[in-house]
C-alpha cells in the first residue's frame, strides 16, 4: 500500500496525531480510487500502552500484562488488545479525514501485536460514491502491518459526512 497518489498528504513522522490532523487539507470530493492516507507509524508498543488502554476500557485480561501467565498458556509473551490496535485505526482515520467523518469501520484481527512491535497504519481509497443526502463518501481498505512485515489487522472504512 505505497503512497503513490496525488491526493496523499505529505508523509508523516512518528509525531502525534495532531500533526496528521493539521496536514489534512483535502476535501473528500477530491479523493479518487487509489488515493492514500499517509502511513502512520506507531510504536514500539510498550506495556505502558496496554495498561493504559486496559484502564480506559476496563478490560484487565491477563494476556495483556501478565507475562508469566501468558507464557503458561503457550504464547511467547504479552500481546496487545485487539481493540487497542483497532482503536488506533479509528483515531488515525478520524485525525486524517475529520473526527465527524468516519461512517463505517470493519476490522479483522489477523495476528497478535507483541510488545516491541512497531506498527504502520495504511489505507487506500477503493471506491468513491454519493451517499445519503448527496454527500460524497469514500470506501477504503485498511491494513496494519508490524515492522516485521506481518499484517496484524485488516479492514475497511467508509468516510464522508453523515446524511
Amino acid at each position: 500500500m505505497a503512497s503513490s497518489s496525488a491526493q496523499s498528504v505529505p508523509p508523516t513522522s512518528n509525531a502525534g496525531l495532531r500533526e496528521l490532523s493539521e496536514l489534512a487539507v483535502f476535501r473528500i470530493e477530491d479523493l479518487t480510487v487509489g488515493s492514500v492516507m499517509p502511513d502512520r507509524r506507531v510504536g514500539p508498543i510498550t506495556q505502558e500502552h496496554l495498561i493504559r488502554f486496559a484502564g480506559a476500557g476496563g478490560d484487565f485480561n491477563r494476556f495483556h500484562y501478565d507475562a508469566e501467565f501468558v507464557r503458561s498458556r503457550g504464547f511467547k509473551g504479552v500481546f496487545a488488545q485487539g481493540l487497542f490496535t483497532a482503536g488506533i485505526l479509528g483515531q488515525v482515520l478520524s485525525a486524517w479525514a475529520g473526527s465527524d467523518m468516519l461512517r463505517k469501520l470493519k476490522v479483522r484481527f489477523a495476528e497478535p501485536v507483541w510488545l516491541g512491535d512497531e506498527l504502520v497504519y495504511s489505507a487506500v481509497v477503493t471506491r468513491t460514491y454519493t451517499a445519503g443526502a448527496g454527500q460524497t463518501w469514500a470506501d477504503m481498505d485498511c491494513v496494519v502491518t508490524s515492522d516485521a512485515g506481518r499484517q496484524v489487522l485488516t479492514g475497511s472504512a467508509s468516510i464522508g459526512a453523515a446524511g
Partner: protein
C-alpha cells in the same frame, strides 16, 4: 442448544458519554488531540468526539458489566476456552459526543455453523444498537465470536 441461545434476552441500559472517558480513551489510543475541530465547527474543549472504538466498551455501563458473549458463557451456552474473537464492524450514523446519554441494546443477532477441515465452527453474531434520547439510531456495532468445535 440453539433454542437456549435465543432465550437469552436482549439487555438495554443507559450509556453516558462522559467527557473524561472520551479524553482518556483518545489519549490511551495515542491521540494527542482528542478535541480536534469537528465538521460542524464545534471545537469547544468542553465537548469531545467519542472515540469510535469506545462504543465497544459501553457494556461497562450495563447492569451486569458483561458483553453479550459473556452472558452466553455465564449460562453455560458457550465455552469461553473455545471462543475466538472474529470480526468487528461499526456503523456510525452520526457522530457521538461527550455530554449525551445514549440507550444501548445488546442482543444475539445470528448464529450459523461452518464446516471446516478442522471441524465445525460456530459463528455467533451480536448486534449492539445505540440510540439518542429521542430514539434516533446513532451507531450500530456488530461483533462476531467464533466457537471452535470440541
Amino acid at each position: 442448544m440453539d433454542k437456549e441461545l435465543w432465550n437469552v434476552p436482549p439487555v438495554t441500559f443507559s450509556f453516558p458519554v462522559e467527557w473524561g472517558k472520551c479524553r482518556e480513551f483518545a489519549l490511551a489510543l495515542l491521540d494527542e488531540d482528542p478535541g480536534r475541530p469537528q465538521a460542524d465547527g464545534g471545537s469547544s474543549p468542553s465537548v469531545l468526539p467519542m472515540p469510535p472504538i469506545m462504543a465497544t466498551c459501553a457494556f461497562r455501563y450495563s447492569p451486569d458489566n458483561m458483553p453479550p458473549s459473556a452472558r452466553l458463557v455465564e449460562r453455560g451456552l458457550v465455552d469461553r476456552a473455545r471462543m475466538l474473537q472474529g470480526g468487528l464492524e461499526f456503523e456510525f450514523h452520526r457522530p457521538m459526543r461527550s455530554g449525551e446519554t445514549l440507550t444501548v441494546t445488546d442482543r444475539l443477532d445470528r448464529v450459523h455453523d461452518k464446516q471446516t477441515s478442522k471441524g465445525t465452527l460456530r459463528f455467533l453474531e451480536f448486534e449492539t444498537l445505540f440510540r439518542s434520547a429521542d430514539g434516533e439510531l446513532v451507531c450500530t456495532v456488530r461483533t462476531t465470536n467464533i466457537e471452535r468445535g470440541s
